[in-house]
Symmetry: C2
């Protein structure tokens, strides 16, 4: 199937951009994520699902701590997306230079954001290359106003150098994911 | 936690509205859904996650057939949302009166829509009151143009009588979901 046939649908299934943060064994980290969905119709038991790629440092920290915070960003925070989403926390500390406090789950909550959700993992589904975490929202608060930043919007306005940097990063990740998903499919067959 | 503190975030985690259709044991059905997320970064292996409430007829048909189609709707199709999303298929056939064909998975594809994805279930996570289905997109096509219909938009423009009808329906479902989620949490504790 030609992906162009379904691209307008697939592109509308991503969430606003959020920094996903976690704290585990004395270390903090944050990555960017856009696959976050609502998972409860009950206002007093709010839940989300979040997909994290297994190759990310944050993934292993969320598996360990069974918690994370989602910090959605304002439209003027593209610089922060570049800082948190284009490089791995394995290369150096991405969180200590940012104003933050520990949320109720122990995950770092970035104070300069559009709004945050502090979440405890309930269960997880192995998606092959990624894990789909089902989590309960234990705390959260709006910080900014207006609309949150989306990746669609950021791609239209970010510098050309970031496009090139991003394309190199995602091309490598797609190759790893494709291989992992095919291997998992072969095991199921 | 007061839900109003996080409502602007939670409200932006829903997808566009889609009719979720399934065919099982000679019967077709469709329900409305707005919890659909992208679940793959690999264009040639497109995947989605879809949450279906266990009390819905479509849920048991997707469990049986291991397949479903997502038919996203145009903004002028509010009448169809009312027809498919406000009553259960247990009360009568909701699909045979609509122009459709069987997709590659055997699920009915509604021909009058914004675009469709025909999906095969890979795995599932039990969310207590709902199941989170991870599925591969095997086929799909854009049918319309412009933007798809969202529940946010529909709530702002639909007739008052539909609001009352919807509020009665969702109040009952929230009560069932709350009880189911609390029971599952007690089992985990």
């Amino acid at each position: 199937m030609d992906y162009a046939r379904i691209a307008p649908m697939m592109g509308r299934l991503w969430s606003p951009l959020a920094a996903v943060t976690a704290s585990w064994q004395g270390r903090d980290n944050a990555q960017m994520c856009l696959s976050i969905g609502g998972a409860s119709i009950v206002p007093d038991v709010p839940r989300v699902v979040v997909h994290l790629y297994k190759t990310n440092l944050t993934h292993e920290m969320v598996v360990g701590s069974k918690a994370f915070a989602l910090c959605f960003l304002r439209q003027d925070q593209q610089e922060l997306v570049h800082r948190l989403g284009f490089v791995s926390g394995r290369g150096g500390d991405k969180v200590s230079g940012l104003r933050h406090h520990k949320g109720v789950t122990g995950s770092p909550v970035l104070e300069d954001c559009w709004g945050y959700l502090d979440c405890a993992v309930i269960d997880a589904l192995d998606g092959g290359d990624m894990t789909c975490f089902l989590a309960e929202v234990l705390d959260g608060r709006m910080v900014g106003a207006g609309e949150p930043l989306s990746w669609h919007q950021m791609r239209q306005t970010m510098p050309r150098a970031w496009h090139e940097e991003w394309d190199r990063k995602i091309t490598g990740e797609i190759a790893v994911s494709r291989k992992t998903m095919r291997r998992a499919a072969a095991r199921r067959a």
